[in-house]
Symmetry: C2
Subunit: 171 residues, 2 copies
Amino acid sequence: MASQDDVLELETFLPYRLYHLADLVSREFARVYKDRLGLTRPEWRTLSGLGQYGTMTAKELGEQSAMHKTKVSRAVAELERRRWLIRTPDEKDRRIEHLTLTKAGLAAYRGMVPLAKAFERELLSRIKQSGQGALTAALDAIEAALSLTPSGADSGGAAAGGDGRRRARPD
Amino acid sequence: MASQDDVLELETFLPYRLYHLADLVSREFARVYKDRLGLTRPEWRTLSGLGQYGTMTAKELGEQSAMHKTKVSRAVAELERRRWLIRTPDEKDRRIEHLTLTKAGLAAYRGMVPLAKAFERELLSRIKQSGQGALTAALDAIEAALSLTPSGADSGGAAAGGDGRRRARPD
DNA sequence: CCAAACTGGTTACATCTGTAACCATCGAAA
DNA sequence: TTTCGATGGTTACAGATGTAACCAGTTTGG
């Protein structure tokens, strides 16, 4: 099955397909929060993270939603400017600030949740039954595969097993 | 099955998961062509497209590798600057230029192909057997789902109209 | 008590990206 | 042929991003 090694078929090349599809989906979803709330993706993720967990530090936010700290910093600054969140200095460690959504921020979040869920539902429904199971299975598999550190070569073993990661998916 | 509509679990939210994984994979792969050839993603795609099809116009490139025309324009300009490709004006339509890799460009491409394939192979191997089939099945499903006219609104993004797109996928 | 070494977070700068406006050419209609 | 609306492609400008340098506050260890 392996074709010769002198031509690469971009259209079926995994990194390309994956990125392209993610980009498509992401863009389409972005329209929802962009049109409605005028948020950028980092801002949306920040809103989402705080809506979900209530209070977080910038660092935690970055870890939770896979954002570089500069993105977090800027997103937080913007949401603060809109008065959608407030910072509360930590008593013990004055480098840290605890971030929490304000009433307005929470309202924006609450308004988005159903839309996000509807979007996802609609997307999944468009994907045929078989594909749906395959999709989550595939994402699980890639996630597990990538959570292994070896950026190098060797892939032996792999054993992603243990790792606690946030995998809480019901199905 | 749907959880309440007041909280969204970002970590399992499809658009997020998809984007995050694609980003991870893409970044890792980008290191290959960036370290080795100093290319940006649009440049790599352009190189890849021309390597694969021999000669293309900027428009075709954009369609094949899902890039906005400004990206194509810039990538082409850069590859031309490096003398990795040349433009040949079209005889009949003087707005068009046919792009082709030079010896140097082709050499760069040829050097990358095995690395790209190795990368993909390694990635797939890290994904357990089951996940592997699921992955391609899932990508197929999403691709199919997205090519359907979005029930949502206008554009729907890519998928240029008439052109049967280069979908050569077996399934 | 003071000096590394570290950590949470912000900022400066250089790129990259998308939108929109633009140029040249083409096709069709008048 | 002239005109007007598409089309291939480039460019100007405003945002968004990543890297690296930078602060301020903390910890560790003399």
